[in-house]
């Protein structure tokens, strides 16, 4: 098969017409161009990262018994999501000490872990106020997921909470230093 090597384009030794001896090879370069053009297009059009989702289950609304389950207030960790990416948290409802924290791993995550050790069967109540954003909600749900909290509820920011939060109503005014709680 030496005759078909790339170097031999002219007719062979036997004197056959040159036209019949033309190489059967086709120049593939334009095909390569085309292939890579298409390749580039599809590569750019592809989104490999599929959207992730966070599952959320709310309690049924149309149940007979409208009252929400009662819990001992001493076992309740209240988390108020406030504007400006601030979190205020307190345990119980009677004259609680309100603390401020943030969404970092040394902030609310530490609070959750510490309080979970202190309080047996802790219930977390998330109360986003009207200044909080969707991102705050997703962040706090994510932190609960990371710390493995399963007993939590998304509840309204009530007037009682407003009364507790009154000293913090104006941002920056009369804010207690955060942290230092054991």
């Amino acid at each position: 098969m030496g005759e078909v090597s790339a170097g031999k384009k002219r007719g062979g030794e036997k004197g056959k017409p040159a036209a019949k001896k033309l190489s059967t090879r086709v120049d593939m370069t334009p095909v390569v161009d085309l292939a890579f053009l298409l390749l580039t297009f599809f590569m750019l059009a592809t989104t490999f990262i599929k959207p992730q989702v966070m599952e959320l289950i709310l309690p049924e609304k149309n149940v007979e018994d409208k009252s929400q389950p009662k819990v001992n207030e001493k076992k309740v960790l209240n988390i108020i999501l406030s504007g400006g990416n601030k979190i205020y948290w307190f345990v119980g409802l009677t004259a609680p000490q309100v603390n401020e924290t943030d969404y970092t791993s040394t902030g609310i995550r530490k609070v959750l872990q510490e309080q979970n050790e202190l309080i047996e069967k802790m219930v977390v109540l998330i109360k986003p106020d009207e200044n909080s954003t969707y991102e705050n909600l997703v962040d706090i749900l994510d932190e609960l997921e990371i710390t493995g909290m399963t007993r939590f509820a998304l509840v309204d920011y009530t007037n009682e909470d407003k009364a507790i939060m009154a000293p913090f109503a104006t941002p920056g005014a009369n804010v207690q230093p955060a942290g230092g709680q054991s």
Binding site: A6, D27, M28, T46, P51, V53, M54, L56, T133, L137
Partner: protein, 196 residues
């Protein structure tokens, strides 16, 4: 004697073509053209690793201003939804308008203006800024959208795609509506974040 260095500078391109088309085929198979969103939203990040199902979705797109836009993932479902709504609310949509409805990537128009909106030309429909589906108490059309999406496709899963800056009260209104419609299991679309 021929010189050995006198070989042709042409390279055989065939294997490269093979490779090229293999990759083209791969990318063609894996590509899915996601419908672009009606309003650009940047979803919040979370560590959740659950993948969003590819089909049977009902997507509630919530803009940073809190406007809600509605979309079902299959054209067939969108079409049936339009037919159902048309029958129920006497919207008087023609087949052509129903087809137009089904081709949209999101709808945020009150029922009252739907026919007028679908009567516009394709370019006008793109340029018109849709006000979002009314969700206020007393005029909660989102509730009806959800009910009829359930009737249209009982397997559809509701997915909320909201912007990270959306104020919470708007989200709460949507969640309350979902609860009223007895849709208590739903998903929130998030972006990937590594665990820190």
């Amino acid at each position: 004697m021929r010189k050995k260095t006198h070989s042709s500078p042409l390279v055989d391109m065939t294997p490269m073509v093979d490779l090229g088309f293999l990759l083209v085929t791969f990318f063609m198979m894996t590509t899915q053209f996601n419908p672009s969103d009606l309003v650009p939203v940047s979803v919040p990040k979370a560590t959740s690793e659950i993948k969003m199902p590819e089909s049977n979705n009902t997507v509630l797109l919530i803009s940073p201003e809190g406007n809600v836009y509605f979309r079902m993932s299959e054209v067939k479902n969108m079409k049936n939804l339009a037919k159902n709504l048309n029958n129920k609310y006497m919207l008087g949509l023609t087949d052509e308008e129903i087809a137009k409805f089904a081709s949209l990537t999101g709808i945020g128009i009150p029922f009252g203006n739907l026919k007028q909106f679908l009567g516009l030309s394709e370019t006008d429909i793109k340029n018109v800024s849709q006000p979002g589906i009314p969700k206020e108490i007393g005029q909660n059309e989102l509730f009806n959208w959800l009910i009829y999406s359930r009737i249209t496709n009982p397997d559809a899963r509701v997915v909320i795609k909201a912007d990270r800056k959306t104020p919470y009260p708007a989200i709460k209104r949507v969640m309350d509506t979902l609860q009223e419609a007895s849709i208590v299991r739903f998903s929130l679309i998030t972006d990937v974040k590594s665990k820190t």
